[in-house]
Symmetry: C2
Subunit: 159 residues, 2 copies
């Protein structure tokens, strides 16, 4: 069976950037509020987003090295006590396209700026897209591997 894959590269322009109170902040602290500053000409594209309590942020993990992008398997969360699995079975930032996806709480919107709680992205991270969270995204019956289910009560980040 022969599949023709799209080989051409795609070009993406960030819609904005993550700004944190300090570049030293612990980005894994889910209680911290950070800002997403969009390009000013996109302000109108946020109209109505205030009515959502939660949004997905899709961002570019700009600090990942070429070695990180080439990784195929990892211990989830860097924990050697967890089984090594393929990177697409984890949320590790080390992936061929270092795209981050995080569900955050929308605190406030002001013109072209969003204040969000729980975004695990560094200061200066390019933002690619923002999507409202919707009931379709909530699947409480989803099954996960045993190694992940064991961790789910712990106050940690994504695998």
């Amino acid at each position: 069976m022969v599949y023709l894959l799209p080989l051409e590269k795609l070009e993406i322009s960030p819609i904005g950037v993550v700004k944190r109170a300090s570049s030293n902040e612990d980005v894994k602290n889910k209680n911290l509020v950070s800002r997403i500053v969009l390009k000013e000409n996109l302000a109108k594209a946020l109209d109505g987003i205030e009515e959502f309590s939660h949004i997905f942020v899709i961002f570019w993990l700009h600090k990942i090295s070429d070695n990180g992008k080439a990784m195929l398997k990892v211990h989830p969360r860097g924990r050697t006590d967890l089984p090594i699995v393929g990177i697409f079975a984890t949320r590790t930032p080390n992936r061929p396209n270092p795209i981050g996806l995080t569900l955050v709480e929308l605190v406030k919107r002001e013109k072209y700026i969003l204040w969000v709680k729980g975004l695990d992205a560094f200061d200066g991270t390019p933002v690619l897209d923002i999507k409202p969270y919707d009931k379709w995204d909530a699947n409480i019956n989803a099954e996960v591997p045993e190694w992940l289910a064991k961790l789910s009560d712990q106050a940690t980040l994504h695998p």
Copy 2:
């Protein structure tokens, strides 16, 4: 207040492509199964994904025109009876970076191919990333606008 935005364009290489039984299939039919065919050298990166029942697919909406990318406001789902809102308050494919995000059921994995149910992407769609669905993504208390809440019992796609 002056914000320095990242202006440089990012380059992304698709990790694979969507293959459907027919290019005429109704991609909005959530009961249909389609395949995600990854590049063969990424096969190992899928190891362990079989243990997840649901995954997020992040893909490139390659049929969106420059006019679509320039849109700032839309009627959700093209329905003129719904209030016009900013595109970031909807899941419309018309957005500056035409990135799609869909939660799908993982039916089967075979080497570098995933069979998934409910992917609303055309045959030939470039796939950018795959992420396992995790309890962190399930927020059943999320609030949505009234226009969307009214629709949530209807068997429709994302706004």
